[in-house]
Structures are given as C-alpha cells and as structure tokens.
Symmetry: C2
Subunit: 210 residues, 2 copies
C-alpha cells in the first residue's frame, strides 16, 4: 500500500496511527501541503478532492478521507478493532471521531488559516481564531470524555477516536493553546503517546519532517 501523506497533515497522521496500530506496512508518498503540491493537476488524478491523505491499495484502487480509510482498514483487517463491534459503542466512537474531525479540525486547518491571511488578518488575529475554536471544541470533547473515558477515549484499547484525538492535540500544542481545562483529554492523549503506534506516527518522526 502507498499512503500519500504530509508530516504535518492531521488527517494523514490519523491514518498513519491506524496503519501502525494494525501492523500494516505502507510506502509513504510525500505531498507538500504548505507548497500547495496537493493542488497540482497531477495530484487531481490521485485525489479529486485535492486533499490528503489518499491510500492506494496494491491493486491501484485509491481511497480518500481519513475516517473512510480507517473504517475500510477496520473492515478488511479487523484486529485490533478500531471501531467496536456493538452498535451503541460504534456510534459512540464515531461521534467522538466526528466531533474532532468535523467540528474542531476543519476550522483550523492550513487552508483556512491561509485564507484568513489573504483576508488581511494579522498573525495574532489568526492565532486568536485558532485558539477560539480549539477551546470551543476541546470543551465539548472534555464534556464527552469526563467520567466516561477509559484508559482511551472509549474503553481501555485505542479506537478511531484516539486516532483523531492525538493529531488534534499535537496541533493545539503547536499553537500554544492552554490545555489545562481538559484534564481527561490530556490524560488520554498521554496514554496514547506511550504506545509505539502513536509515537512513530507523529509529525517530527516522518521522513518529510522539516
């Protein structure tokens, strides 16, 4: 398998974690988001959405959208399960994943920050925007996890929700967000980072890291 990835892409980071957790080997193909390589005509043939990541299977089939890729991997390689078997637990893990992937991350990804810059916002205003949505989203996540999380977001084994949580916290740290109000979230994050699968997927350990 090939994974089209960029060291700092949160969405690619989620899939790197999932692949590592399942013990699946992949060949990385580096696409430099900050230089706009994902908008090149040649990449449109790889991913019509012009987004990372794309997973290319050995037969050449390409899948995109990080959570669709993780659900696919979980169906084809069920152990260890990243989406639980029981329906209510599945709904819970998906809900936590979407809270991060649909409510927090989209407001703060690179193209939004670049657009704010084009609109004439100063770096300080952009950082304020970033931290506003991090605080808004992590407050919701903490409310979900408080008293309900196990060692991980759901129970005592990592799930798709943890694959989403860890890249989001990496981002928040990079922008110096105050994480003290989210102790459960931070505890889960730290538990994840003790696992080699999460550690090895982090941006600074990628071959394309700058």
């Amino acid at each position: 398998m090939k994974l089209y990835t960029y060291f700092r892409s949160s969405a690619a980071f989620r899939v790197r974690i999932a692949l590592n957790l399942k013990g699946l080997k992949y060949q990385p193909v580096f696409v430099h988001l900050a230089k706009g390589e994902h908008r090149a005509a040649s990449f449109a043939e790889i991913n019509a959405q012009a987004l990372l990541p794309t997973l290319e299977l050995d037969d050449g089939t390409r899948l995109n959208q990080s959570l669709a890729i993780i659900e696919y991997l979980d169906e084809k390689h069920p152990q260890p399960a990243l989406v639980p078997k029981e329906s209510l637990a599945r709904a819970r893990v998906r809900s936590l994943s979407y809270l991060i992937a649909s409510e927090i991350h989209p407001l703060n990804n690179l193209r939004v920050l670049q657009h704010l810059k084009r609109l004439g916002q100063t770096q300080e205003q952009i950082d304020t925007w970033y931290r506003h949505w991090i605080a808004d989203g992590l407050e919701k996540l903490e409310a979900e996890l408080r008293g309900k999380a196990g060692k991980f977001c759901h129970g005592d084994a990592p799930t798709m929700a943890d694959c989403c949580l860890v890249p989001q916290i990496f981002n928040a740290k990079r922008f110096n967000s105050d994480l003290a109000p989210y102790p459960t979230t931070l505890r889960v994050f730290e538990g994840c980072m003790q696992l080699e699968a999460f550690d090895r997927a982090q941006p600074s350990k990628q071959p394309d890291a700058e």
Copy 2:
C-alpha cells in the same frame, strides 16, 4: 424515538432524511439554535457536545453526531441500505459524506457565521466567506461525482452521501451561491428532491419553521 432538531440545522436535516428513507417514525423536540437554546445547561444533559441533532431511543439512550446516528440506524434497520454492503463502496459513500460534513459544512455553520460577526465582519464579508467555502467544497464534490455518480451520489439508490448533499445545497441556495458550475451535483440534488423522504425533511416543511 425522539429527534432533537431545528428546522434549519443541516445536520438534523440529514437525520430527518435518513429516518424518512427508512420509514421510521420519530417525535421531534425543537431546539432553537438561533436563540442559543442548545447552549442552555438543561440541553447539556441531553447532548454534552451542545450540538444538534440528538436521537433519543425508546429506552432513553441518546446518540449524537448526524453521521454516527445514520450509521447506527443503518446497522439496526438495514433496509433500505444507506451505506452499501461492499467495502470499497462503503468507503466511497463515506468519503463523499465526509467531504460535505467535514470540509464544507463546518466552515459555514451558524456558530462560525456568528463568530465572524463578533469579529466585526460586515454581512457582505460574511456572505463572501460563505460563498468562498461553498465554491471550494462544491468544486471538489463535483470533481468526485462527474462521470461517477449514478442517479444518486453513488449508484441508483439514495445513500448517506445524498443525506449530506441535499442539506448542503439548500444552504448554498439560501446564500445565493452560484451553482451553475456543478451540474452533476445539481442533477443529483434534483433527483433526491423528487423523493418524498427528502422533500418532507426540508426546513420549510418542519413544524418549527419560521
């Protein structure tokens, strides 16, 4: 079942469509987003994420995040299937759904537009923001659907992707976005709207419509 809903919420609209497609009856509970009722302490007990929709099952269990709810409904009430059975098709339907739910909608929902207003943006600037992200997102969606969509987003029966597409197009129309560059997307939208399940779920036909 009870559905906590607001006529203009795109995420609640997705679930209303799914419930209608499956022929499932529900009792609506109206939460006025524009008045901020979702941020009330009493609603935090219903949904820790302070978001719509929430689906309350007959035993009192509550589920949140629209796509987690739709996947749950599809697992418990498999006919008609909103997520196909075959893994690559599942990945495709999810990818299209997430493209709308994670890449387009989050940048334009009510709380983002309200936040831009608080930052001092004029209504014209807010409308420009809105249309920028609609154009960015629908261009990606059109590229995905062109030559690949059937009567619906994936094949000739409605799926979760159509449950996402229709509310997004309703939104785009409300903000007078130019939809001419997206003929495949519009064709699918119009096909959906010929079905009673989509028509009956639309904002203006809800009891709480203003």
